[in-house]
């Protein structure tokens, strides 16, 4: 959705969105990467040095070194219950953004198999770290992919994700 939103705006002819190539199932740690460029994207390899990291579940922090593949001036968006988590965050990224996307999803009733569907709220929050992709473009794509009431819910979640962030900056 992020790649599509960027592509549908002006200025990003090159986008590429890749899942982690392997078995994927709900509950297991999975990864996906997106490249966005003002030129066609030619690289086909995995992303090893990211400008922006989006962590959908803060409990992953204690399981693995999720920030090891970041550029020095990177930004991180993390889904966590409150902003206390930012206190522990160091200088391995320039900008940390916390959003309680799980709460937003649960309040919106976007829950499947007891898991909150946090994608739309995370997309809203990451606009702070990637202002060149507009919230309205993301909402347009959400409406396109989820017609009807579900689309409206996703659009509202993206707006809430955008509005309910806490930031910590290292300059």
């Amino acid at each position: 959705l992020l790649a599509e939103a960027a592509h549908e705006q002006e200025g990003f002819p090159g986008v590429m969105a890749a899942p982690s190539f392997g078995a994927e199932r709900r509950g297991a740690p999975v990864a996906a990467s997106t490249r966005i460029s003002d030129r066609p994207v030619l690289m086909r390899s995995q992303v090893y040095r990211a400008d922006l990291l989006v962590i959908f579940d803060h409990t992953l922090l204690s399981l693995m070194d999720v920030t090891s593949q970041l550029k020095s001036d990177a930004a991180v968006v993390i889904n966590a219950p409150n902003q206390d988590i930012l206190e522990d965050m160091g200088g391995d990224a320039n900008l940390w953004i916390q959003v309680d996307a799980s709460r937003i999803a649960i309040e919106a009733g976007m829950v499947s198999s007891a898991s909150p569907l946090v994608g739309a709220a995370m997309l809203g929050a990451l606009v702070h770290a990637l202002p060149s992709v507009k919230l309205s473009s993301i909402q347009h794509c959400l409406k396109k992919h989820f017609p009807g009431r579900r689309g409206q819910q996703n659009v509202a979640m993206a707006a809430q994700g955008y509005e309910n962030v806490n930031k910590k900056e290292f300059v």
Binding site: V15, M16, A18, F21, G22, R44, Y48
Partner: protein
């Protein structure tokens, strides 16, 4: 052999009556580029080619192609018969049968599924049927893998199928449309090969051709010969070693070897059709892929990188980096692997002193297929560039621009040409001897 007598009977066959000739109409909105996975791009191409019969058996990473086509058929967006089968062997056999009665057909598979089709691949080619297949490249077991390399399609290289390899999702769509035209002009089946996951499951912008463009480029299939109950014929009977007279006493059937010779000549000649169909498509739709091969920064290159598929795309980034370091490196991305475009390749390489070949396959006990074929062809010319060959990216091992740069550098620094060195084993960039 196709005689004038056979060509006469072409009936307005049952297929046309039953399914009609229906171009799938699309709206203006759909013509903009969309962000699609490689598998979706293949399914859209199949729909836009107005394929009439699809038979395929699901296998990772091919499954989403057939799922999407099944959805098109189910929702009435595609006027085709989707035949559910119990194996890849049955899938290709259904395609052969449907093509023999005059339908335009499609199948898709990967790896072990492709190899299960193997004997019928020979049949399809020998029977001169214009099948088009998407081969979503995946490594061969054992050990079990679902990730990409070219071992599956390279293992089918001697079946007589044309093989085209592509670099991105747009090229998948465009090449499948071109493949139908090429196949139907040359009476040769075509395999469009694209890397599993790296293209099949990765989303990129894809633009469609318009209905008018497709109508201009891809007219309905008019089979030169077909099975028809109203006018019974036998095809591909036991064929004697020597030619024999037909029932009217005329020597018009060749022996087996004569028919095979004709196939070989026409397959070699089809290289020209690949170029002309590509050029016609490029003129009308505006997207170019160089015909049988693409070149990048080759004008003043002293060293050429030669690769296929997504390794070629990644090599473009590697070439930029090597150029930034002051080395005159260019890229030749081989699009057509069978028939092997030897003269075109020699022409593209005629000014370089060195070639570094990256093969995402290996003929076990020897070296990579592209390197072998290149050297074999060059030996029949006066060109003697130093050819180094590297095996990369087997079973989905990630091929980064950084690794390719280090691979090229090591080949250039090596005193002896590197022959079938393995790059990336144990995750480091040391070239290990492959033989």
């Amino acid at each position: 052999m196709i005689t004038a007598k056979v060509a006469e009977f072409v009936p307005r066959n049952a297929w046309e009556k039953r399914f009609g000739w229906c171009m799938n109409m699309r709206t203006e909105r759909d013509r903009k580029s969309r962000v699609l996975t490689g598998n979706e791009a293949a399914a859209f191409a199949c729909k836009d080619a107005s394929v009439q019969v699809v038979a395929a058996y699901p296998i990772t990473p091919q499954s989403p192609v057939t799922e999407r086509i099944a959805q098109f058929v189910e929702e009435g967006e595609m006027n085709a018969q989707y035949v559910c089968v119990e194996s890849e062997h049955s899938a290709i056999t259904v395609c052969i049968a449907a093509s023999t009665v005059g339908a335009r057909v499609f199948t898709a598979t990967s790896a072990n599924g492709l190899c299960l089709m193997h004997e019928q691949l020979h049949w399809a080619a020998g029977a001169r049927l214009p099948l088009v297949m998407a081969c979503v490249n995946r490594g061969m077991a054992a050990p079990w893998t679902i990730w990409t390399d070219h071992q599956d399609s390279i293992s089918q290289r001697d079946t007589g199928w044309m093989q085209l390899y592509v670099e991105d999702n747009q090229e998948i769509y465009d090449t499948i449309l071109q493949a139908y035209r090429i196949a139907e002009i040359c009476h040769v089946p075509v395999m469009v090969c694209y890397d599993g996951y790296i293209l099949s499951h990765t989303a990129m912008p894809v633009s469609f051709a318009s209905t008018e463009q497709i109508q201009a480029l891809l007219p309905p299939r008019t089979p030169a010969f077909q099975l028809d109950p109203a006018n019974p014929y036998n095809f591909n009977l036991v064929t004697m070693p020597e030619p024999r007279k037909d029932h009217e006493g005329i020597f018009e059937m060749g022996g087996y070897m004569d028919l095979r010779y004709r196939f070989q000549v026409e397959l070699k000649r089809s290289e020209e059709v690949v170029k002309s169909v590509h050029d016609a498509y490029a003129n009308l739709v505006g997207r170019k892929y160089g015909g049988v091969l693409k070149t990048y920064a080759m004008e003043d290159a002293d060293v050429a990188v030669l690769a296929m598929g997504t390794v070629a795309s990644e090599s473009r980034v590697a070439v930029d980096r090597l150029r930034a370091e002051g080395l005159a490196v260019g890229l030749v991305s081989l699009r057509l692997f069978r028939p092997f475009p030897g003269p075109a390749l020699a022409d593209a390489l005629n000014r370089v002193s060195q070639v570094v070949v990256f093969d995402r396959n290996v003929s076990y006990g020897h070296e990579g297929a592209v390197a072998s074929d290149l050297k074999s062809h060059l030996f029949s010319t006066d060109l003697r560039p130093r050819v180094s060959s590297l095996i990369v990216g087997l079973g989905g091992r990630d091929v980064t621009a950084d690794f390719l740069v280090r691979g090229v550098r090591q080949c250039l620094d090596s005193k002896e040409p590197v022959v079938a060195g393995w790059l990336g084993v144990l995750g480091d960039s040391t070239i290990r001897p492959g033989r």
